[in-house]
C-alpha cells in the first residue's frame, strides 16, 4: 500500500516537474534517459548474466537512423520524428538480432570483451561514413514550436519512454521470459540440459534491450541538437560505461535497482560537474571505486541483506513440537 502511494506521488511529481522547475527540463530529460540506459543494460547484465559493453551501439544506431529519416523525409516535424523513432527502433533490433546470433555464443568474460570492441568499431565506422556526415556529425532539424516548448515536449517524450520501458521490463520479468533468462544467468549448461532454447531467449533479450535503446537514441539526438559519432552517438566511454555503473550501483538483477542507481549516479555526477569543476572526472572515478568496494551488490542488494523481511517471505519453517509446548 505504501509502495503504491509512493509510486503515485513520484509519478505525479514527474508529470508536474516541468511546471515546478522549468529550468531543469533538459537536465531531467537526461536523467530519464539514464534510467532507460540502466534498465536496458540490466536486462542482459543483471537478469541474464551477460555483461554487455556494446549496448551503446543500439543507442547510436537509433540516433543516426532517426536523424537520417528527419533529414531525408520531407514531411512535418512530428511525422518525421515519429517515423524516425520507429525506424531507429527497428534498425537497432535488427542489429541486435544479427550481432546476437554471433556474439551470444560467447560466455562470461569473453562476451564482455567481445562487446567492448563493438562500440568502438561502430564509432569509427560512423565517423568515416559520408552519408551520415562522417566526422563532422549530423544536426537534427530544429523543433518548430514556440520558444521553450521544445524542452517540455522532449521531457514528456522521455518520461513516456521511461514508463513504457519500466512497464515492459516488469511485465517480462514476471513471466516465463524472466524465469528463463534468470536460469541462463544461474547455470546456462543446466538450462540447456533441461531443453531450454537458450539462444532464442538470449537473442530476444538483446533485441528488447536494443528496441528501447534505439528509441532513446532517436530522442536524445534531438535533445542534444548535434550528433557527434564518438561523443554523442557511440559514446562508449561515457554513456556506455555509465549504464553499467548505474545498474551495478542500484542493484544488478532487480527491477528498481537500475532506476535508483541511475537517479543517484546522475545527481552525483551533476553535483561534481557543478561544485568540483576541474576535478569532476577524478571525483567520478573515486565514486566508481566506492561503488565497487562498498556496494558490490548495489543499493537495493545491500538493503535486501540488511532488511530481508521487507523483500517478501523467505522461509516457512514449521515450529518444532517442543517449542510449541
Amino acid at each position: 500500500m505504501t509502495r503504491r502511494i509512493l509510486l503515485t506521488a513520484g509519478l505525479a511529481l514527474a508529470i508536474a516537474a516541468p511546471a515546478l522547475i522549468p529550468g531543469w527540463r533538459t537536465q531531467l530529460s537526461y536523467l530519464l534517459m539514464m534510467i532507460v540506459f540502466a534498465l536496458t543494460w540490466d536486462l542482459l547484465g543483471g537478469q541474464m548474466g551477460y555483461n554487455s559493453f556494446g549496448n551503446i551501439v543500439f543507442f547510436g544506431v537509433g540516433m543516426y537512423a532517426c536523424a537520417v529519416v528527419q533529414r531525408d523525409l520531407h514531411l512535418s516535424y512530428p511525422a518525421t520524428l515519429a517515423i524516425g523513432m520507429a525506424v531507429g527502433a527497428v534498425l537497432a533490433v535488427a542489429v541486435a538480432a544479427i550481432l546476437g546470433s554471433g556474439m551470444l555464443g560467447l560466455r562470461g568474460h569473453y562476451f564482455a570483451i567481445g562487446t567492448l570492441g563493438l562500440g568502438i568499431a561502430a564509432g569509427e565506422l560512423a565517423s568515416g561514413w559520408q552519408f551520415v556526415g562522417a566526422g563532422g556529425g549530423m544536426v537534427p532539424p530544429q523543433y518548430p514550436g514556440a520558444r521553450g516548448g521544445r524542452e517540455t515536449f522532449f521531457y514528456y517524450l522521455c518520461l513516456g519512454l521511461v514508463i513504457v520501458t519500466f512497464a515492459a521490463m516488469r511485465w517480462l520479468y514476471a513471466g516465463r521470459f524472466g524465469l528463463a533468462i534468470n536460469a541462463i544467468r544461474d547455470d546456462e549448461d543446466k538450462a540447456e540440459a533441461m531443453g531450454l532454447w537458450t539462444t532464442r531467449y538470449k537473442t530476444a533479450a538483446w533485441c528488447v534491450s536494443a528496441l528501447f535503446l534505439g528509441i532513446a537514441g532517436a530522442i536524445l539526438g534531438n535533445i542534444s541538437g548535434f550528433i557527434d559519432p564518438r561523443e554523442t552517438a557511440f559514446a562508449g566511454s561515457t554513456f556506455g560505461v555509465w549504464m553499467v555503473l548505474m545498474a551495478i550501483l542500484g542493484g544488478k538483477g532487480t527491477l528498481w535497482g537500475p532506476v535508483i542507481g541511475a537517479v543517484v549516479f546522475h545527481v552525483m555526477k551533476e553535483l561534481f560537474w557543478t561544485y568540483l569543476l576541474g576535478w569532476q572526472r577524478v571525483a567520478l572515478g573515486f565514486l566508481i571505486v566506492v561503488i565497487v568496494i562498498f556496494f558490490p551488490v548495489g543499493i537495493l542488494g545491500w538493503a535486501r541483506e540488511k532488511w530481508p523481511e521487507k523483500f517478501g517471505h523467505l522461509v516457512e519453517e514449521t515450529v518444532p513440537a517442543e517449542a510449541r509446548g
Binding site: R176, A180, G195, E316, E317
Partner: protein, 247 residues
C-alpha cells in the same frame, strides 16, 4: 520388451585416456536399471555421452529407436531424456519454486509461450512436486542456500517437472542423510511406477542399488565388466575384484 535406450559399442577418449572403450547396454521401457563401477570407471562419462555433452568417437546411441549420438544437449533433452548431475546443478539465485516453474516440459517453453505467465496448474504441480521431495516449506528460499542433499532433491523435482520419458540419475543418494535415503528410494519407485518414467541410476551405495534396480550393469576401466540381476552381480567375482582393487 521394447528398449527405450540402446547404447552400442560407444567409445569416448580424452586424448590418450579411454573413458569408455566399447560399451553396449540396453534399457527396456518402464524399468529401473542400475549402473555401478569403481570411481573413474567411466559411468558419468557414459551419461554425458548419452545426453550429448561429450560427442562420442564411435558407436551408436538410440533413444526410442532414434539415433541421438549426433544431436546436441537441448535437442536430446526435448526428446524426453534428462539427466541429473553428481555435483548438483540448480539455479542458485532463484527460489525453489521458480526453479521448478522454469523446468516445465519443453513444449511449454517454445515461441508461443515465451511471454506466458506460469499457469495456476503449473504452480500447483510445482508445489506438489516440492511436497513430494519434502521441500515445500522451503519453496520461497533461494535454491543456492539449500544444503547439498536438499539441492539433490530439488534437482530431482526439477527433472520430474519436465515430464521426461527417461531419467539418468547420477548418484541420487550421495550427500543425503541415511534416514532420507529410504524415503528417496521409495520416491524413485513411485516415479517409475506411477509416472512410467524409465530410470537408469548410477549409485555407489550398494544397498540402494541392489534394492532399487532390477538389472545392473557394472563398468570398470571404461569397459562393461558384468551385467545381470542384482544378486548375480553381487556374487560375481570380477565385480568384487574391481571394487576391491584386484583388477
Amino acid at each position: 520388451m521394447t528398449p527405450i535406450l540402446e547404447v552400442k559399442s560407444v567409445r569416448k577418449t580424452f586424448g590418450g585416456v579411454v573413458a569408455n572403450g566399447d560399451v553396449s547396454l540396453t534399457v527396456p521401457e518402464g524399468k529401473i536399471y542400475g549402473l555401478i563401477g569403481p570411481n573413474g570407471s567411466g559411468k558419468t562419462t557414459l551419461f554425458s555421452c548419452i545426453v550429448g555433452t561429450h560427442p562420442i568417437d564411435s558407436g551408436s546411441i538410440k533413444f526410442r529407436g532414434e539415433e541421438i549420438s549426433r544431436l546436441r544437449v537441448p535437442q536430446i533433452a526435448r526428446l524426453g531424456l534428462l539427466r541429473t548431475f553428481q555435483q548438483t546443478r540448480i539455479y542458485g539465485k532463484m527460489t525453489c519454486l521458480q526453479n521448478l516453474l522454469i523446468s516445465v516440459p519443453p513444449a511449454a517453453l517454445a515461441w508461443r509461450s515465451m511471454l506466458a505467465r506460469p499457469s495456476a496448474a503449473e504452480v500447483r504441480k510445482a508445489e506438489d512436486l516440492l511436497q513430494f521431495v519434502g521441500l515445500h516449506t522451503k519453496r520461497h528460499l533461494r535454491a543456492g542456500d539449500l544444503s547439498f542433499g536438499q539441492q539433490k532433491l530439488l534437482e530431482l523435482a526439477m527433472a520430474l517437472m519436465s515430464e521426461p520419458r527417461m531419467l539418468l540419475l547420477d548418484e541420487p543418494t550421495a550427500g543425503i542423510n541415511p534416514t532420507l535415503i529410504n524415503g528417496l528410494i521409495e520416491r524413485l519407485r513411485r516415479i517409475n511406477a506411477e509416472l512410467g518414467i524409465t530410470l537408469l541410476v548410477i549409485e555407489h551405495n550398494m544397498r540402494v542399488v541392489m534394492g532399487l534396480a532390477e538389472y545392473i550393469y557394472c563398468l570398470a576401466h571404461g569397459e562393461l565388466l558384468a551385467q545381470g540381476e542384482p544378486a548375480a552381480v553381487k556374487r560375481d567375482k570380477r565385480v568384487i575384484d574391481a571394487y576391491l582393487g584386484a583388477h
